[in-house]
């Protein structure tokens, strides 16, 4: 694969599809979009297979460099972290297209074009190795998402689309100024070079805050999360899936790619701020989720809570925390996407998101009930599902630096169980209050095809997370080494116990057994 521009190809395929979709009828547009996203998925698998995961491999692979834009370059390249997020993107995209197959009836060509363009930009964000190329991709995502929410959204879509657009734009522009300053200071736009550049720690604080303004809104962190519930509730199902599944990950990716390696000292100094906001977010948004009567809103608030676990893990400054944060991002991308699809399934049948209108669906929709249960449990973080791995690692990581943050963060899991199980009980169990809800047919073949692959990956990630951790390990090692000098001292005072000799250990164990009996 040496020298083959696979990343550019992965962006070119959906771009070509997007242009084609604008000029054809509804039926053809659907098929073009599906084929383009599936082709990209295949390319994504090839990318993963050819990615060198060994410790001796270069950190950046599949690099491309074309200085065609004057001030900045078409520079692409990925490490393990970017690889995983690209894989998540190309995996979710065909599912999004499938989810819109029947739900979208008007202006199908434009809809599919917007989604394919979105895919181009998402891959671009994760693959960009030039600071300004990254910014362009990052910001350009606003255009298709604004149109998706505004044209195909629910009743209050216009307010939601404005709020989404202006909120995220205001966050990002400050980051742009910081980027310009960095480029003048360091004299390069290359992200890998900037990641190793040591900025003056006093200036770092300002730069860090400017980047924080952007990523905190994108993530979203409390208290700038309020655009998310509105956007989610109004967006069409596939829009919510892509928003929760991938767009929110751009915030986390930003922290791990820019804030932490470029401003390690500032990150350490301001880590308590992140911990504080994350702790509030975990508890507050979980409680808010508990009282929602709108399904989509509930899942949106749960996303904010989960993203807070991500920020906790990221700002733990150790391997467990960083790996955990990445795993939560991947797991949450799958699970929240799947939950929005589950909402979409019943919304398509009854056209309401009111939880109270449903009930007892386990009776007439048993397949649906099983899959929904699986995803609900995964959202709770049940061992054996994807989210458990990430949440456990994140909280373990953050425990080493702040026991309080770990303590409060963990209550999020308990509260998460409360609101997810409560939601599930109200929708799937109990008596069938409404005749129309009771008459809904079970999952169709198409819907099975959308949910089953996600279910399989959720279990895979929960049972054998090594497949996903292995590619990221070298990148996370490098980041940990970069942060080592700045990392704050922990308050948990963990001390390694002396290793117990093998013989003694066995004897000890038998003794313990004896006591237990």
């Amino acid at each position: 694969m040496d020298g083959f521009p696979i990343l550019s190809l992965m962006m070119a395929v959906p771009m070509a599809g997007a242009i084609a979709c604008l000029f054809v009828g509804a039926r053809q547009a659907r098929w073009i979009a599906l084929l383009a996203t599936l082709a990209d998925f295949v390319l994504g698998i090839l990318l993963w297979i050819n990615f060198d995961q060994s410790g001796s491999a270069p950190q950046w692979q599949f690099q491309e460099y074309l200085p065609i834009f004057g001030r900045f370059a078409w520079a692409l390249g990925i490490d393990g972290i970017a690889l995983m997020l690209i894989a998540l993107t190309v995996f979710l995209m065909p599912i999004c297209i499938g989810a819109s197959w029947q739900a979208i009836e008007k202006r199908v060509g434009e809809y599919m074009a917007a989604f394919l363009f979105m895919e181009v930009l998402m891959i671009g964000v994760f693959a960009a190795q030039d600071l300004f190329l990254f910014y362009i991709m990052f910001e350009a995502g606003l255009i298709p998402m604004y149109l998706i929410i505004g044209i195909w959204g629910g009743a209050d879509r216009i307010y939601a689309s404005y709020k989404f657009f202006l909120y995220t734009l205001l966050g990002s522009v400050l980051m742009l100024i910081a980027m310009m300053w960095m480029v003048h200071e360091a004299g390069t736009t290359q992200i890998p070079v900037l990641m190793a550049y040591n900025f003056d720690p006093h200036i770092q604080i300002w730069l860090w805050l400017a980047f924080f303004a952007s990523f905190a809104v994108k993530m979203p962190m409390w208290p700038v999360h309020t655009w998310l519930p509105d956007a989610h509730v109004q967006a069409p199902t596939a829009g919510s899936v892509i928003l929760a599944g991938v767009l929110l990950k751009m915030g986390g990716y930003g922290f791990i790619r820019f804030s932490l390696p470029m401003f390690p000292e500032a990150s350490a100094e301001l880590a308590p701020l992140i911990w504080g906001l994350s702790m509030v977010a975990v508890v507050y948004t979980s409680l808010v989720a508990l009282v929602q009567s709108d399904m989509k809103k509930l899942i949106a608030y749960s996303s904010v809570a989960h993203m807070a676990i991500v920020t906790l893990g990221l700002f733990a400054f150790n391997r467990a925390g960083l790996e955990g944060a990445m795993m939560v991002m991947l797991g949450h991308g799958l699970v929240s996407g799947a939950l929005f699809l589950c909402v979409g399934v019943i919304y398509d049948r009854l056209h309401t998101r009111e939880i109270a209108r449903y009930g007892g669906l386990a009776i007439n929709m048993p397949k649906y009930a099983v899959l929904f249960l699986l995803f609900a449990m995964a959202a709770v973080g049940l061992p054996g599902t994807s989210n458990f791995v990430g949440e456990f690692l994140s909280l373990m990581g953050v425990y080493q630096v702040s026991t309080w943050a770990a303590l409060v963060g963990t209550t999020g899991i308990i509260l998460g169980a409360a609101y997810m199980l409560y939601l599930y009980r109200r929708i799937c169990y109990g008596e069938q209050k409404n005749a129309d809800a009771a008459a809904m047919p079970d999952l169709s073949m198409r819907e099975m095809w959308l949910l089953a692959p996600i279910a399989a990956v959720v279990l895979w990630m929960g049972v054998y997370p090594e497949s996903f951790l292995a590619p990221m390990r070298p990148a996370i090692h490098a980041l940990e080494a970069r942060l080592a000098s700045a990392a704050p001292a922990g308050d948990s005072k963990i001390e390694m116990g002396a290793a117990i000799p093998a013989g003694d250990g066995a004897a000890h164990e038998t003794a313990a057994h004896g006591e237990a009996h």
């Binding site: 065609i68 834009f69 004057g70 910001e139 350009a140 505004g150 202006l166």
Partner: protein
């Protein structure tokens, strides 16, 4: 004794003058149907003048003992002005045909205005500057009231004339003060005199000159005429006002600030920063409530001038290059937007101007809607469209010149501006369809529209060329 080299350095102006006079005679004595022919001949004259720019660059940079400059900066600005003027001529016939007002004077007046603008951007002396400015202004006053039967058009012309004369007076007074205190009207001489400290009188002169120029570029607080004139003038004329004279005035301001007032940089920098931020903020806030698309474009142009001035505030070669790049991209977006606005015609072919009438355009005229959306997103400065790059360059220059605070405030204010551009896109894409427009646009309109849209979308590929040209233009001032 006039040297040949000097004459060759102003060859573009000579061509335009000769062409303009010949076409004036032709239209005075020609038959009624001659208007369309004159239109095309005027465009040809502009193309010829554009080609002559090479010749003027070879015989520059100084002509007529420094009264006129024919340097890379003036060539850059003139290329832009000629293109915008040509577009304004090409877009006009269809509009005027509806009101039976299609007359050959329109292209002729634009040619004369263009001669004036050429003199403005190549002025090397306050008096050349003034003559160029007045030549452009007089033609512009007539153009604003070109539809004489239309009340709004006459009103626009009158308003423009009264306020424009006031501004000319202020400028002239500033020039007089500078002349009185420095003893010269040449840019080099003024710069030399300012180098040993700025006296009170010189400072007053500087302020008055900048105030007069701020009027011409319609920067806050001298913007009052803009919305009324833009709304009242016939749409092709508004297209012209928003593009070519804007470039000329901004380029002129840059030249005066750098070449003549360069040593007083710290004094005018404060003024420029204030004017820039005030224009950005006022332009974006005042645009929000507008219901007439031309009026909205007027506020948008005020807003854009604010951004362009940020490059000048930096006062560095990179800043000047950024301002010139900004104007290039701004002209593309403006011509494109107005090519869209000109297509806003009801089923009978009469022009409509209300923003509400755009509702649901995306369902009746897909291509036009997409082009409109591209220009609006671009004006709002959203990547990957080229309008983002314009803003990027000026802010980058400001950051490099240690004006990070200015850049932060300016860019945050650009988010307010984004709101009203989004409002147009919302009307076009999200609202239920209103009464449909005429089903097809004119061929010329569509070609210009498409060309602008393509450049706005793929503009980044032009970056190396634009960087080089604007850097060369800026370098010739320092």
């Amino acid at each position: 004794m006039i040297e040949t080299a000097s004459l060759l350095a102003v060859l573009p102006e000579l061509i335009l003058t000769a062409g303009g006079l010949a076409l004036l005679m032709a239209s005075a004595f020609g038959r009624d149907g001659i208007a369309r022919v004159v239109n095309w001949l005027a465009v040809l004259t502009l193309i010829a003048a554009g080609l002559a720019l090479w010749c003027s660059l070879e015989h520059g940079p100084d002509a007529f003992d420094g009264l006129v400059r024919a340097d890379a900066f003036s060539v850059f600005a003139k290329a832009l002005i000629y293109s915008a003027a040509a577009a304004a001529i090409l877009l006009a016939p269809r509009f005027f045909a509806v009101g039976h007002a299609i007359r050959p004077e329109y292209p002729v007046l634009i040619l004369f205005a263009t001669v004036g603008m050429g003199m403005m951007v190549s002025a090397g002396d306050m008096l050349t500057l003034y003559v160029g400015l007045e030549m452009n202004s007089l033609a512009s006053y007539v153009l604003a009231s070109f539809m004489r039967q239309d009340e709004r058009s006459s009103e626009a012309g009158l308003k423009y004339f009264v306020l424009g004369s006031l501004a000319s007076g202020i400028l002239l007074y500033g020039t007089a003060l500078l002349y009185g205190f420095t003893g010269t009207t040449g840019f080099d001489g003024i710069s030399l005199a300012l180098a040993d400290g700025v006296s009170k009188g010189e400072l007053f002169g500087l302020v008055f000159v900048l105030a007069g120029l701020a009027f011409k570029i319609s920067a806050v607080p001298f913007h009052m005429w803009t919305p009324d004139v833009y709304e009242g003038a016939p749409t092709p004329v508004t297209t012209f006002f928003a593009s070519a004279p804007k470039v000329a005035a901004v380029a002129l301001t840059v030249r005066v600030a750098i070449e003549a007032l360069g040593p007083a940089g710290l004094d005018w920098q404060q003024i420029v920063i204030f004017v820039a931020l005030a224009s950005i903020l006022f332009g974006s806030v005042a645009a929000i409530g507008q219901t007439n698309i031309k009026r909205l474009m007027a506020y948008s142009s005020i807003n854009n001038v604010g951004f362009a001035l940020i490059g000048l505030a930096a006062g560095t070669p990179a800043g000047v290059a950024a301002t010139m790049s900004y104007m290039t991209i701004y002209v593309l977006m403006t011509i494109g937007s107005f090519a869209c606005i000109l297509q806003m015609r009801d089923a009978q072919g009469n022009p409509v101007e209300s923003i509400a009438s755009l509702a649901g355009l995306s369902q009746s005229r897909k291509g036009l809607a997409a082009a409109f959306a591209i220009f609006m997103f671009s004006m709002a400065g959203i990547p990957p469209l080229f309008g983002f790059w314009a803003k990027f360059l000026v802010f980058d220059a400001a950051v490099a010149a240690n004006l990070a605070a200015l850049a932060v405030i300016g860019i945050a204010a650009s988010v307010i501006g984004a709101y009203y551009y989004l409002k147009i896109i919302k009307t076009i894409y999200f609202d239920e369809p209103a009464a449909a427009y005429e089903a097809r646009g004119g061929a010329v309109e569509n070609v210009i529209l498409t060309a602008c849209a393509v450049v706005i979308v793929l503009g980044y590929l032009l970056n190396p060329v634009l960087d080089q040209a604007s850097a060369a233009a800026a370098a010739s001032l320092f």
